[in-house]
Subunit: 450 residues, 2 copies
C-alpha cells in the first residue's frame, strides 16, 4: 500500500493516536531490526510460516554457491522479535516489562486486494518474569478501549473469553485433546455461514462422533454473549463449578471484568463472548477480539490474549505475558473502502501565507516565521500567483487558514486571515496571529472531541 499525501496524513494520525494511547498507559517504545537470523525467526514456526518468509541477501551472498537458507530473514510479526529481544536483554530490563512496538512486518503473500506483503503492526505486551498478575489482562482491555475511542471510527465492542474456561468446558464434555477441541471450534465457527443444523450434523457424524446432547451443550455454550456488566457477572455465576481449569478460567474472567469496570471502561464497550478462541496452541488464558459494531464483516480489528511463556525457545526463564496487536495497514485499507477514514480533508499544513506581489516576499517570510514559532504548520507561497489560484490550491490541499498581507494590511500592521473551514475572515495583528490560530484550532479539536 502506497498512499498519496492526503491519505498518508490520515494514516499517520491513526498511528499517532495508537502510539499516544500506548504511551498513556505507560508502555515503553521498542524497535527491532527488520532482519532476524533465519534460524531465530524460524525456530518457533511451522512450515506455513516458512513459506511466507522473505529472506534477504546482499549481492555478495547471492553470488556464492547455494548453501541452504540465507542467513537473514525479514520479521513476519512482532512477537518473535519481542521474544528474542526480551531473552537477549533479559538482565537489563525491569519486569513486568511493558513495551509497545509499531513497525512494519513482511509476509510473502500473493499480492491481492486488501492483502499486503508489507504492513504495520501496532503491538503492546506486558511480559512478567515467572509470574504475571491477571490484573494486566484488565489493563490491556482498557488500552484497547482508549485507542478505539480516540480513533473515532465508530462504536466497537471488545469480545472477551478465556482459554482455561474453554478447555475446562470441553474436557468436562469428554473432548479432552487440544487439537480435537480446535477442530470442534472450527466447525462451530461456521455457524453463521452454514446454520446450526448443518454444524450439528457434522459434529454428530462419523468424523467427530459427539452425542446430540453434547453438541447441544457446545452450541449453547458458544452462543453466550453478555449484555451488560451485571449480566456478564451473572453468566459467570450461572456456569457453576467444574474442573480446576474451568474454575480458574471463571475466576480470571470475573477479576478482569471487575477491574475493567474500575478502570472506567463503559459496560457497553465490552462483553463476554464464549465463541472467541484465537490460536489454541499459543494463548492460554484471557483472549480478546474487537469488533466494529456497524462493520462486523471486517472481522476483529484488534486481537490478542494471555500466553504462558513468551520465549521458551530462547531462554530458560519463564516469561508469561499478555498482549494485543492492531494490523493498521489492513484496517486503514478496510476503513477507507467503507468510507470510514476520518479527517482526510484536513492537511497537516495548517496555514498558508499567500503572496500577491514579488516585493512582499520578505514580509511573507516574516509572517511565516512567526506562525512557525507559534506552533502553526505553515507553508509560504514562494512566487506570486493569482489569488484565486492560491485559494484553490489551499482548499484542495486541505489547508485551513490562508493568510494575506497586501499593501493595505502591511501599512496597518495587520494581516487578513481567511478561515476556509468556517468560511469566514478576520483581521489580526502580526503579533497575535499565531496565538489566534492556535485558539481556533484547539476549539475545533475540542468540539470534535479529539
Amino acid at each position: 500500500m502506497e498512499l498519496l499525501p492526503r491519505d498518508q496524513i490520515a494514516f499517520q494520525r491513526m498511528l499517532d493516536t495508537i502510539r499516544r494511547n500506548y504511551e498513556r498507559f505507560g508502555f515503553l517504545p521498542v524497535e527491532t531490526p527488520v532482519f532476524e537470523l533465519s534460524e531465530v525467526l524460524l525456530t518457533k514456526s511451522g512450515g506455513e510460516t516458512e513459506r511466507q518468509v522473505y529472506f534477504a541477501q546482499s549481492t555478495g551472498a547471492l553470488q556464492k554457491e547455494n548453501q541452504g537458507l540465507p542467513e537473514l530473514a525479514l520479521r513476519f510479526d512482532l512477537t518473535v522479535p519481542l521474544a528474542r529481544y526480551v531473552a537477549e536483554h533479559e538482565h537489563e530490563l525491569a519486569f513486568p516489562f511493558r513495551r509497545y512496538q509499531i513497525q512494519r512486518v513482511y509476509r510473502g503473500e500473493r499480492a491481492q486486494r486488501g492483502r499486503f506483503r508489507e504492513f504495520y503492526q501496532c503491538d503492546i505486551d506486558v511480559v512478567g518474569k515467572d509470574t504475571l498478575s491477571i490484573r494486566f489482562d484488565a489493563e490491556i482491555l482498557a488500552v484497547i478501549h482508549a485507542v478505539f475511542s480516540e480513533l473515532g471510527i465508530g462504536d466497537f465492542t471488545v469480545q472477551l473469553n478465556n482459554r482455561k474456561l474453554m478447555r475446562g468446558f470441553f474436557e468436562g464434555l469428554g473432548v479432552a485433546e487440544g487439537s480435537r477441541q480446535m477442530d470442534v471450534l472450527r466447525e462451530v465457527d461456521k455457524l453463521d455461514k452454514r446454520g446450526a443444523d448443518d454444524v450439528r450434523e457434522t459434529l454428530t457424524g462419523a468424523g467427530f462422533g459427539l452425542s446430540q446432547d453434547t453438541v447441544q451443550k457446545i452450541l449453547d455454550f458458544v452462543a453466550v454473549r453478555s449484555s451488560s456488566h451485571a449480566d456478564a457477572l451473572a453468566r459467570l455465576d450461572a456456569l457453576g463449578q467444574g474442573s480446576d481449569t474451568f474454575n480458574q478460567g471463571v475466576g480470571e474472567l470475573r477479576e478482569v471484568l471487575q477491574l475493567v469496570h474500575a478502570l472506567g471502561v463503559p459496560e457497553s464497550d465490552y462483553r463476554l463472548n464464549f465463541s472467541i478462541a484465537r490460536g489454541l496452541d499459543y494463548y492460554t488464558g484471557t483472549v480478546y477480539e474487537t469488533m466494529l459494531d456497524g462493520y462486523r464483516q471486517i472481522g476483529s480489528i484488534c486481537s490478542g490474549g494471555r500466553y504462558d511463556d513468551l520465549a521458551s525457545h530462547y531462554t530458560k526463564s519463564k516469561l508469561p505475558g499478555v498482549g494485543i496487536s492492531i494490523g493498521l495497514t489492513r484496517l486503514f485499507w478496510q476503513l477507507r473502502e467503507a468510507g470510514l477514514v476520518a479527517g482526510v480533508d484536513e492537511s497537516s499544513v495548517q496555514a498558508m501565507v499567500a503572496l500577491m506581489e514579488d516585493n512582499q516576499l520578505t514580509e511573507s517570510l516574516d509572517i511565516a516565521r512567526r506562525l512557525r514559532a507559534g506552533g502553526i504548520n505553515t507553508e509560504v507561497q514562494m512566487e506570486p500567483k493569482k489569488l484565486g489560484k492560491q485559494f484553490q490550491y489551499a482548499s484542495r490541499a486541505g489547508i485551513r487558514f490562508v493568510v494575506l498581507a497586501g499593501e493595505d494590511e502591511l501599512a496597518r500592521g495587520v494581516v487578513t486571515v481567511k478561515d476556509l473551514a468556517r468560511e469566514q475572515q478576520f483581521e489580526v495583528t502580526r503579533e497575535q496571529l499565531a496565538s489566534t490560530l492556535r485558539v481556533e484550532l484547539e476549539q475545533t479539536r475540542a468540539l470534535a472531541g479529539r
Copy 2:
C-alpha cells in the same frame, strides 16, 4: 542498532523533533514500501551501489532455478523511491511538491562499529515541475536551522556553497571537465590531513599538471569562510564577474543569503564555505553541509542540495528539486558515543501510581484513569510492594512523579505526589492531580527551552 527502552525514548524524541519541524515548514508525509523492483532501484546506480543492495526473496522464489537478480530489492536511500513515487503519481500531486520521508534504508555493509546495515534517513525535498524557484533553497536552510536548534545537541553551523560557482571558477582556471574538477577537489579535501605543501605538490605534479599560480588560486578559493552575514555578501561581491555559470552561482548564493536572513536564521548559524562540494554528478546548484561546532570530527550531520532533474530515468517531465537528509541512526550513535544525547534520564512515562495495600487497587486504577484522561502518561503498580522498592523502580526508570494514596489520603480525598526531579512532595485533590502535573511538566519544558 537495537536500543534498550531508555535510549529508544531518547531516539524517538529526536525523530519526533525532526518530524515536527518538517511539518512546521509545510512538508507533507510520504512513506514508500521497503521493496522496490530491482530494475527500478538499480537504474540510477553504478556498480558500487549494486554491491550494497539487499535483495529479497520469498521461499518459493528461492527454490526456483537461479534466474539472475531477484525481482525485489530493499531501498538503499530515500531519493530513488522519491523519484519513482513522483514519476508514478505525477498527475495526482501538486507542484512544487514538498514531502518529508522518515524511514529506514538498507545497505549491505560489513557490520562494524558505527556502520549500520539498517538505518533511519530523515529527508525533505521540494520538487518543482519544469522550474523551481531558488527561494526554496533558502527555506531548506531555515528548516535545517529549526531542526538542529530544537534538537539541542549543541552549536552548529550550516555551510553553504554553490556548484555553479565552483564549476564556473574551475572552468575559469582551465580545469573544465567535471570528473577532473572532482579529482582536484578530492585532493583539496586532504588539506587538513596532509597540509598545504603536500597537496600543492600533488596538484602541480605529473598527474594533474597545474601551475603553481593556479593551485594557489584554488587553495585561496576553497579556504573562503564567511564570518557574518555582511561578510558573506562582501565576499560574494569580492569575487567579481566571471562566466555566466560563475555569475549565476554568485547570484543564487546572494539570494539564498538574503532570504535566509529574512527567515530569521541567526547569522552565526550559517556561513559560506567554498570547499563544500558534495557529489559533483548529482547536485547542480546550492549545496549544504551542517557541522556541530564542538564536534567537527563527526563530519556533516545534515547534507543536501539542489539538483536539476530528479527522475529523468522514470519520466520525461523535468523535475528540479532541492533537499536534505539526516542520517539519524548514525548521528544518534555518534552523539551517544560523545555523551551528547540529551534527556535519556526522562522516561516517556510521566507518573507512577504506587500500590501499598492490595485492597487499594481500585482506587489506584481510578487515579490512573484520571491522570490518563488529563494527558499524563501513567503506569500503575498492579501488585503491592515495599514502598522503597517502588520508588527505586520509578527512579531507575526515569519516571518523574510517584503518586501515593494511602488510607489517610483516601480518607481526606487527596493524594501525595513525590516529584523525583525536584526532590519535593505535595498534596493535591484527585480532581486537580492531572492538571497540576501538566503545569509542572510544562514549566520544566519551558525552562529547558523545549
